[in-house]
Symmetry: C2
Subunit: 334 residues, 2 copies
């Protein structure tokens, strides 16, 4: 009685255990300052825990709309971007979805869960989108991640536009755009087949709260908001996220710190590091086990990226430690 897709399904797992330094999940190194937590929790005491949250997170949508200079019907909020990815796959017709490889693993997770075929478009040698050499007949949606994980680079805007021009629904995941020079958010004015995903888990340092949002054409977002679960974000995550949108100065400082550290890490091992517009760096170093022995967890890459690692930019001490270890690793390379 269990579906075959479920039986064959490989669960999503992460490294766990008793390690000192975690640079594997692209989390922010910055927790909220204690005085800010104090003030947030003071406000939260007035929340009624016994009452359901906004049915559609409208308070947060309104705040996002005003910050992005859009209308609130351009926005759908989700219990992490994950819920939005899942929901989007139910939105469109088509017997397969398209992803570029390598990229974020959750697009495939949600496709496989529903038995949706996946067509993989390999990125080119620079990990950029290739020219379109594909018939989009029957394609449900294409997922593009830019800046991309785990490679760290921004994909070429003109190429993204080429994909949009096919008319196929395009999801552009900009989870890391806060660390990049440019965003493609302006494209939603022009392309009604575009949905952009953003998250508060990375630059805003709110991974604990699970809040993401989708931005797109009003009529498209209206359809999406019909089928996404009502009451999908809890009241506390909604409140804290709204509150943190007022802390622009703090967030910008954190972003600047991370970008600076990132560039230091890249230049320190420039021979092995890939350029990045994110809060992580991909290194062409097979150092996963070496780092793990020192209590440092990074992401071990596989497939086409076998032998490489993805290292989240952490705080000063963490970055110092991982770079020291990587320098040691390099010094004994044959």
């Amino acid at each position: 009685m269990i579906r075959k897709e479920v039986k064959d399904f490989e669960p999503y797992t992460v490294m766990e255990g008793d390690y000192r330094i975690w640079l594997d999940k692209n989390e922010s190194p910055f927790d909220l300052p204690m005085e800010l937590k104090d003030s947030i929790f003071d406000d939260l005491k007035n929340l009624e825990f016994n009452r359901y949250p906004d049915i559609d997170g409208r308070g947060l949508k309104k705040k996002l709309a005003s910050s992005l200079e859009l209308h609130k019907s351009n926005i759908v909020v989700g219990n992490g971007s994950d819920q939005l990815i899942d929901c989007i796959m139910d939105l469109f017709m088509g017997d397969h979805m398209i992803i570029h490889t390598p990229t974020f693993g959750m697009y495939s997770f949600y496709a496989k869960k529903r038995g949706l075929n996946i067509v993989e478009v390999p990125l080119d040698e620079e990990y950029d989108l290739p020219a379109i050499d594909y018939d989009f007949e029957g394609a449900r949606v294409i997922f593009i991640c830019s800046p991309n994980t785990p490679t760290g680079n921004v994909l070429d805007r003109e190429k993204i536009i080429d994909y949009l021009e096919t008319g196929c629904p395009v999801v552009l995941d900009e989870a890391y755009a806060d660390f990049a020079e440019n965003s493609n958010l302006d494209l939603i004015d022009e392309y009604s087949n575009l949905i952009i995903l953003r998250t508060f888990s990375k630059a805003y340092g709110l991974a604990a709260l699970r809040v993401g949002y989708a931005v797109g054409d009003e009529s498209l977002m209206r359809q999406m908001s019909k089928i996404i679960s009502p009451y999908n974000i809890n009241k506390i995550s909604l409140e804290i996220t709204k509150r943190m949108m007022d802390e622009d100065k703090l967030i910008q400082e954190n972003i600047e710190f991370i970008k600076k550290e990132r560039e230091n890490m890249i230049s320190e091992l420039s021979e092995y590091a890939y350029p990045s517009q994110t809060n992580f760096v991909m290194f062409d170093l097979d150092a996963y086990e070496y780092l793990l022995k020192k209590g440092i967890v990074v992401r071990k890459l596989s497939g086409r990226l076998t032998g490489k690692i993805r290292v989240t930019v952490g705080n000063k001490e963490e970055n110092r430690e991982v770079m020291t270890a990587l320098n040691e690793f390099v010094s004994v390379l044959p």
Copy 2:
């Protein structure tokens, strides 16, 4: 490019507006006491907001397992029961699902979203399950809600067992079981095709947090945990829920209050009230608009229940107000 099921989809809506008394969502009338909130928030200050929560809510699962005297692999936790309902529909094979009518609306919501056919089994005159007169060939799952909403009654255990004996996967939603005399949780030892749903939104008064859980056979729950979204419950909801599981005395007092008030409400208008083992009462009174004019929101029922209302048991004052208004309404009935 939008799926037809989505275009035709009717969104889930709730009454909104500027009313005084909300007795429409079966929420608990009890917010947490302020000193408990103080203590909870003191603990929460040590949570790292920048780090993802448990990938599978294992801390909460462990605590639930110990409280239910089960193993943690018997349990899957969800972002509200809603997420569990949604996930369960992806778990099994079959071209249609079965619900009894009337019942909770979200089973149909998630079936319609995925274009899954719904076969409706009408409850009998007492709103109990009918004898099985149905070929289960091709049925993906049957949803049984007991105690049922909006009718308030517990469905007959022997009939539930008859449905289990067919071998078809059965989801038994026990969202309101804390207000009932008995639960059917013990049946999971015997039936590997049974999943029981529970929630912290009703008796625990934590609707704001969106936490529910599913209990079932280990191998079945292991399949379910593979396909449910990782990191599906935020850290704060997980922490507060675990903490509230230690407040058994408070929760039991609240439940006793609600049961006592419920019985008072039923006996006060016994001619119109249906028996209830929940935190609400169904009345055979077409008083929705009448109450609304007085600033009191209840649930207006439809279909087979047209002309009836569902009234959540609120606090003493709210119950006094709604009963006074209903008595007035009755006194002028033709």
